[in-house]
Amino acid sequence: MKEMSRIVRTVTNFVYGFIIIFGFYIIVHGHLTPGGGFQGGAVVGSAFALLLVSYGSLNSKKFLKKDIFSLFENFGLILFIVLGFSGLGITFFYNFLANSGGWFGNTAVIGVNPGNMNTGGVIPLMNIAVGLEVLSAFGVIVLTMASAAEFTKKKENS
């Protein structure tokens, strides 16, 4: 894939960081507002797709490394399973941090309220783990399919 025109590339430079910070906002606020790990991870993954389409698959190798993505994907899944096993003293996937007063342990006010970040028990941590897994999964899928499409096109031409 060749790169697109100069105007599209310059706009991409600005929009790329904005999409990533917005996706992180959706992930971190998953227990207060709509969103969560899966949705925010998909948003960040499409930011990588934007960089890939506007710089071409050859030039974007400077910014996106496939090995780091696969490392973070395994890390996210393992973190999720570890958090599930941590509550095994009572039952599998027990929310052992909720309402305990420590980290993420404040009690939520019943009813409609603007929200306190420091609530929710293990739910914010699980959001971060699932978000890490989903964003790197989409990054790996898009990068691999782009290089494969490039390869078949080159083989046909030669």
Partner: protein, 88 residues
């Protein structure tokens, strides 16, 4: 012959659809079951999260979410294994 069989199958399917559409409830007013009432009453105080949907997905049904994450992981492994021989 083939068209007649297709026509009969289409009419049977469509009549089931019409009957179920007639019996349908008013739009936007589902019945509440005991499960919904329990979640709406207690989810905010038990898990400490304001968003009830997230507390169901990650707390009450955490095992389902583990299954979803594993499905996504399997998809990535499938894609990487399918294009394994492609270099550059």
């Amino acid at each position: 012959m083939k068209k007649i069989i297709f026509g009969i199958a289409f009419i049977i399917f469509f009549s089931f659809l019409i009957v179920s559409a007639i019996n349908m409830r008013t739009f936007g007013e589902p019945t509440f079951s005991e499960m919904d009432d329990y979640f709406i009453e207690n989810a905010q105080s038990e898990t400490g999260a304001n968003n009830v949907v997230t507390s169901i997905v990650f707390d009450y049904r955490g095992f389902d979410t583990l299954g979803e994450a594993t499905v996504l992981f399997t998809a990535v492994v499938g894609v990487v294994a399918l294009f394994r021989g492609v270099k550059k």
